[in-house]
């Protein structure tokens, strides 16, 4: 414990000595990255908290090098490992193993200063060589994109790592910090010693919890790491128990067999809410849902007329749908970019006005409504489709629901084979630019057409190094999409969870857009 306190004091000193300065220290304090004297770290870790997880945990997620394009592995990464920079409470790009960084004025280099005192679970210090090794070893999502754009990684001294880019890339930090697992650091010596398979069997990281045991299909057990640089976790042991069936998870939560349960939906969520001693905790994730009108570039289609697209937007009763399907916890953000992303533009509130929708349709020449063809959706969200279709029918937009199995749906969507109306969604990582590139810009994987004004602005922002100017351009693109009703956004999905009365801080919702409890060193057991 004393050692941990010393480490913490050491890191504070080095922050000051290293020229970070008073302002930065204040900023770090504001971010919750340092705590006030006498706070939780002074107590020895104690007790156990158990999570009921809704899917089977896979050892591939113990290794940041294999992070796929999904949020699931981050459930474990936040416990076992640490990143140079990562999303933390209050900041999407917070200093972690790197206590500071700076970009060169030409945007061709990013220099990170390693935190002193940061250690792996085996006691080895985190070094620039580990950072370089972790990046070079990375083979998960967007690995080829990152490696294509990074020309070299230099390690000039014991605390500095410099990424040299081939050309300016304003999104480098987004990809390095949150959109991939490339910035999560593993110990080079240990990995070389045990190999990839050995690492998955006994992972060693620099995170707040060390690996204890893993029983496939049953549970993962981790234990507090006293030497964690930020603070030793107050809870001694975390257990992630796999319970795939939703009703069983709720039963286990009610009995106190588990302390937190992920993904409790519909009527079960209602029951959880009504059960004394249990707390329902929705978390809004980065998954946005929308209607897309792929025929809007076809002059013969009714969807070509902006008034028809606006009518569809006005017809949707967003609030009632959110209440019916997710107890009202999915917010109506009225955009395709999640509100947790960098460069997010807050759109005006969505309006449900059936009379106006009908009026607009009449003005567009569809006084008696029109047959709008098919409404395609991922079959697992067909219930959302049914609710939206009811609204559209009421306005006079008659469509047939065509739920497709998930893989077939996204394949057809990407191959641009769908027509009329598509109920789309994305939970992909990134920022506003990456989301827009995929869905709204010419050549985008899911863009069926384009608007030259949007394309021009997008090309300009891609090389813009001035953050304010870039923000303005990306905001303008989102505004154009809104004004032209390119999309009819529906909601940003809420992931509903619950916890019992032993839990002090659940960690749920502390990091914006993150689906699971994190950071785990902030999770506490209630004092009795």
């Amino acid at each position: 414990m004393t050692a941990a306190k010393d480490d913490f004091a050491g890191s504070l000193e080095s922050a000051a000595d290293g020229g970070i300065g008073r302002r930065r220290l204040l900023a770090l304090t504001a971010l919750g990255l340092v705590a006030a004297p006498g706070a939780a770290w002074s107590a020895a870790p104690e007790g156990q908290l158990t999570w009921a997880v809704h899917f089977s945990l896979a050892p591939t997620w113990f290794d940041p090098a294999e992070t796929p394009a999904m949020i699931t592995p981050f459930l474990l990464l936040y416990a076992l490992h640490d990143a140079m920079v990562k999303p933390m409470p209050g900041s999407a790009v917070a200093p972690c193993l790197a206590e500071a960084w700076k970009a060169s004025p030409d945007g061709l280099a990013y220099e990170f200063t390693l935190r002193t005192g940061a250690k792996f679970h085996n006691g080895e210090p985190v070094t620039p060589e580990d950072v370089k090794f972790s990046f070079e070893r990375y083979r998960g999502t967007s690995a080829s994109l990152m490696k294509e754009r990074v020309a070299a990684i230099e390690t000039p001294d014991a605390r500095t790592v410099r990424f040299v880019l081939k050309k300016p890339w304003p999104d480098f930090l987004t990809f390095y910090s949150s959109a991939t697992g490339a910035g999560w650091i593993v110990p080079k010596k240990y990995v070389e010693q045990v190999g990839d398979d050995g690492f998955k069997k006994a992972p060693v990281g620099a995170g707040p919890f060390r690996f204890v045991s893993f029983t496939p299909g049953v549970e993962l057990v981790v234990e507090a790491f006293d030497g964690y640089w930020r603070k030793p976790p107050p809870v001694k042991r975390l257990v992630f128990r796999v319970i795939p069936e939703e009703a069983t998870r709720l039963a286990a939560l009610k009995r106190g067999e588990v302390d937190l349960a992920y993904s409790i939906r519909g009527e079960l969520a209602d029951e959880l809410k009504r059960t004394p001693g249990l707390t329902l905790k929705p978390v809004v994730i980065q998954g946005t849902f929308w209607l897309y009108f792929p025929d809007q570039w076809d002059a013969k289609s009714p969807w070509h007329d902006q008034r028809v697209r606006e009518a569809a937007r006005l017809a949707i009763d967003y609030k009632s749908i959110s209440e019916a399907l997710t107890l009202g916890y999915s917010p109506i953000t009225n955009g395709i970019v999640p509100d947790s992303f960098d460069f997010y533009w807050k759109a005006p509130a969505a309006v449900h006005d059936m009379a106006k929708a009908k009026k607009l349709l009449a003005e567009a020449g569809h006084r008696n409504g029109f047959d709008a063809g098919d409404y395609y959706c991922d079959a697992s969200y067909a219930n959302l489709g049914e609710a939206v279709i009811n609204n559209l029918q009421e306005a006079g937009i008659r469509v047939n629901l065509r739920p497709l199995e998930r893989a077939a749906f996204f394949k057809s969507y990407a191959e641009k084979k769908l027509k009329n109306i598509i109920q789309g969604a994305s939970g992909a990582f990134g920022n506003a630019a990456t989301r827009l590139e995929t869905f709204a810009v010419k050549g985008g994987a899911y863009a069926y057409g384009n608007y030259p004004e949007i394309d021009a602005l997008f090309a300009e922002q891609a090389t813009e190094l001035d953050v304010a100017k870039r923000t303005a351009k990306l905001h303008r693109i989102q505004q154009i999409i809104h004004e032209r009703s390119v999309y009819a956004p529906i909601w940003q999905l809420a992931f509903i969870n619950g916890y019992g009365n032993r839990v002090g801080e659940s960690g749920l919702g502390l990091i914006r857009g993150h689906a699971y409890s994190a950071p785990y060193e902030d999770v506490t057991i209630k004092k009795t």
Binding site: S56, I71, G217, A251, E405, A407, F410, K411, S426, A445
Partner: protein, 306 residues
């Protein structure tokens, strides 16, 4: 006899080959697994990389050739989801499935055989009707419903048993009963019909005419013969319990092969589904082969006829 065995082994290998081709093609008809392993809206480049990693960008016959040649060397591939060898996954789960299946089988036999005997002996009476109702419920009530009701009653309401997971005898009771009830019903019905047939046979009538006590007639003379088909069915059912207790293992979070299969199907983890089906099928083929050989050994007419 030797020729008979060689022929039967040949048929078994052919069955195994056909099973492997069928499951190989069948899982691929369900669609591309890569879209289920990334977030919706992931970049096509990520999806393509994943397809390449899994070898799904290769022609179908190449994929089958790789699967078949690896299978011969004892390698059933790597799970798409877990990224570990599927055989390793299978054998990690096998002890749990064996444990569950063994207890469920004992329960099903303990319930099914006595109730079947009772129903046959008291045919048309109360016990017969009770047995029929019991078996009808066991066969018709969905296992997930039975499981959830048990959890609600014994875990949430009474607080006697843990709701899910593995670890001790208490964890086993509810899943074993849920799984065993379905099979108990099948065993009960077969015991009843088999007993009725045997009780109507000449040698049982003779035993009764000789004045043997009824308990001896039923327990010694009738039951032994009536149990032969029940034991044969129980053998096959045991293999089924080990490999496809999908619903029970999912509801009770029991870490067995059935849940592995469920996960494999959910994520279109082709190697996992192929492994479970091929190994499960192999068990059934081997059991049948042994039974065939045993029958042929006991009864020379079988080997001569074939």
């Amino acid at each position: 006899m030797k020729q008979f065995i060689v022929r039967r082994v040949g048929y078994s290998l052919l069955s195994l080959f056909l099973l492997s081709v069928t499951i190989f093609l069948f899982v691929r008809v369900t669609g591309d697994p890569t879209t289920l392993l990334v977030e919706p809206g992931a970049s096509p480049e990520d999806i393509e990389n994943m397809r390449h990693q899994f070898g799904l960008d290769q022609p179908l016959w190449v994929q089958y050739w790789l699967f078949a040649t690896s299978f011969v060397t004892g390698d059933l591939g790597q799970s798409f989801y877990y990224r570990t060898p599927v055989l390793e996954l299978y054998f990690q789960r096998l002890p749990n499935s064996l444990q569950l299946a063994a207890v469920a089988m004992v329960l099903s036999l303990l319930i099914g055989i006595p109730s079947g005997i009772l129903a046959a002996v008291r045919v048309g009476g109360f016990w017969d009707s009770a047995g029929k109702t019991f078996s009808l419920l066991g066969l018709s009530l969905p296992q997930f419903w039975v499981g959830l009701v048990l959890i609600l009653f014994f875990s949430v309401y009474l607080g006697w048993l843990p709701s899910s997971g593995s670890g001790g005898i208490l964890h086993l009771l509810m899943p074993a009963f849920t799984l065993g009830w379905y099979f108990a019903a099948a065993h009960m019905r077969l015991t009843r019909s088999s007993m009725l047939e045997v009780l109507d046979s000449e040698y049982v009538k003779l035993a009764r005419l000789k004045g043997l006590p009824e308990a001896l007639v039923i327990g010694k003379h009738a039951l032994k013969n009536a149990l032969i088909p029940v034991i044969t069915l129980a053998g096959i059912n045991l293999v089924v319990m080990i490999n496809v207790a999908v619903v029970v293992e999912t509801v009770f979070a029991w870490p067995g092969i059935g849940r592995l299969l469920y996960e494999g199907i959910t994520f279109r983890d082709f190697p996992v589904v192929q492994c479970v089906v091929v190994l499960g099928g192999s068990m059934i083929i081997v059991v049948n082969l042994l039974v065939d050989i045993l029958y042929a050994y006991i009864d020379p007419r079988i080997r001569l006829e074939s």
